[in-house]
């Protein structure tokens, strides 16, 4: 009986330790170049979701609190959780102003359960909106 209690206690302790280890994330320092995007429309592909064609919708979604990401030139998607000292990541005014822009940023990357979370420490370059997709795709999703 005592042995089984001890085993149960040990198992619980191990479980807590593993859980804490899983929660303790270590960031990687990265430099990412890519386009600021709306995460939902891009990942789900419910519509064409890059560049000028999707800019208005991307502003709507960012204003609605949908997470904003950078679609990296490396093809990966980085969810933006922080921009410099600003930890607001729901309806962030600054991110709203650079929606669809081509940027290069530096920051800390946390990889957790298949998601790349990016804490931007500096925006090194901002070329504005350069991905001219509207001639091919019009205005997504409702047209002009």
């Amino acid at each position: 009986m005592r042995v089984s209690r001890w085993l149960a206690g040990a198992a619980l302790g191990l479980s807590v330790a593993l859980s804490s280890a899983a929660g303790a994330a270590t960031p990687t320092r990265v430099k990412v170049s890519g386009e600021i995007i709306d995460t939902w429309c891009y990942i789900t592909e419910i519509m064409y979701a890059l560049g000028t064609a999707h800019h208005q919708c991307a502003v709507w979604c960012a204003s609605g609190g949908i997470p904003v990401s950078i679609r990296g030139d490396d093809g990966k998607v980085y969810v933006v959780l922080k921009i410099e000292d600003d930890t607001t990541n729901v309806r962030n005014d600054r991110i709203l102003r650079i929606q669809s822009h081509q940027v290069t940023v530096e920051g800390d990357l946390y990889e957790r359960d298949g998601v790349n979370y990016l804490l931007i420490s500096a925006v090194a370059d901002d070329k504005g909106v350069v991905n001219l997709t509207h001639e091919e795709y019009g205005i997504q999703p409702f047209g002009n």
Partner: protein, 176 residues
């Protein structure tokens, strides 16, 4: 007759449950999912930067399951809206989340359609963004103004007026 009564009784029990179950949206990789998880401030969970009240609505909230998996809710049931408003009242509490798990190889997402306080809370549709937007803008929740909030939001209007629909000042769509 007795079996018919039993059938109708069972149906009556099942219908409210069915009405609160996630609906499929036809998105690639989607699966309906219902699970228990703690509502957490994602930035806090990752970095230990933990303001009171999970950031008071300014931060994306995640769903942390008992197995340690952190799930990113990206969408709620309102058009063009995320799940932060739906989850904020449950900060650091366990809920039952119901929706669509989208295990896209690019990254996994979760769409929240219903939620309730675990284990026995009342089910709520995940549509509190428009509810809160309507209240903040002093219009009725079921008004056209609220339903099409994205055409009526002042900040959006200022952004589109400044940068245009393409995000490039001065570049305008052709007149139809």
């Amino acid at each position: 007759m007795k079996s018919l009564v039993k059938f109708v009784g069972a149906l009556a029990l099942l219908l409210p449950f069915a009405a609160q179950a996630a609906e499929e949206w036809g998105i690639e990789h989607e699966k309906t999912a219902r699970f228990e998880a703690k509502v957490v401030d994602i930035l806090c969970e990752l970095t230990g930067d933990c303001p009171a009240d999970c950031g008071g609505g300014k931060r994306q909230l995640g769903l942390l399951r008992d197995d340690g998996r952190l799930i990113l809710p990206t969408k709620n049931f309102d058009i063009f809206a995320g799940a932060a408003n739906d989850l904020q009242p449950f900060c650091n509490k366990k809920i039952i989340a119901d929706g669509l798990m989208i295990e896209n190889p690019k990254m996994p997402l979760f769409t929240l359609q219903f939620k309730k306080l675990a284990p026995d809370g009342k089910w709520h549709r995940a549509n509190w963004f428009i509810r809160d937007w309507a209240k903040a803008n002093n219009v009725k929740r079921d008004s056209d103004t609220a339903e099409q909030w994205y055409y009526n939001d002042k900040k959006i209007a200022e952004t589109i007026k400044r940068d245009g629909v393409y995000g490039i000042p001065g570049l305008k769509p052709p007149k139809e």
